[in-house]
Symmetry: C2
Subunit: 153 residues, 2 copies
């Protein structure tokens, strides 16, 4: 468990530093938002982050959360993912990785795999333009949803 705690601390650090280095202010609100997003592995949407942050900063407004997450995403400090209909969700995992998306419940899980990381732009892609990031998306139904389906059906 300590590893996870350390990892979260490292992310908080990295995001805070990223803001500072961009000449932006590390406000009370931003620090708490960073803490939430760094600790949440479920790829939360803005509303979810908002609710979590409000427990520590009850007066924070929803649009501050919108703006802060947008700011972090613009600097490439976090990733805005649009895998499912509905609100955009954010990923604070800075390492190169891929995703599993459950089309039933909306679960998004990071997938780490060296072979996938080794994928290079194809000749066709090189012709289209410059490639800055490559990621693989696995769509399907997560195990819990499969059990639920079986029971209902």
């Amino acid at each position: 468990m300590a590893a996870r705690v350390d990892e979260v601390a490292r992310r908080v650090d990295q995001l805070s530093r990223g803001l500072r280095e961009a000449g932006l202010r590390l406000t009370h609100q931003r620090l708490e938002i960073v803490r939430v997003i760094a600790a949440d592995e479920t790829h939360p949407d803005v509303e979810t982050v908002y609710r979590a942050v409000r427990e520590r900063v009850p007066t924070i407004s929803l649009d501050t959360v919108y703006r802060t997450l947008a700011t972090l995403a613009e600097r490439g400090l976090i990733l805005r993912v649009l895998f499912t209909p509905g609100p955009a969700r954010y990923d604070a995992n800075p390492a190169r990785h891929h995703h599993f998306v459950c089309t039933h419940c909306g679960l998004i899980r990071d997938v780490e795999n060296a072979d996938l990381d080794a994928i290079r732009p194809t000749a066709e892609v090189a012709r289209i333009g410059r490639c800055d990031a490559i990621s693989v998306q696995f769509r399907g139904v997560c195990a819990p949803c499969q059990s639920r389906e079986a029971t209902t059906a």
Copy 2:
């Protein structure tokens, strides 16, 4: 060019048949929407399809386009893609394929590649759940946008 025309005709056919086989009606409006989406390779959004269809069916309403595209996507006849912020876009290419997304102009181009098609769910993915589709996303800047950048800068 004939090949392209044939391909579009085949897609129109396939989508029309798909609707029929699902027990749905092939209305005048639906047929025209299908014709537009089958011929458009730019992954258009609802608004774009609406404008194109209106040239042939001036009285069509925007929400009929919303509903028809949603219906086609539900049956898996077309693909709803959410790569960029803003409106959802649709892909009528039924073959397994991947995407290049330009982060500047929003261009989405299909990428075909047998090696990428050969990717299998990793052990980690198999543990998470059942995988129905795998696709690779290349993000970057398309050649035209690169030139534009160079000129402006």
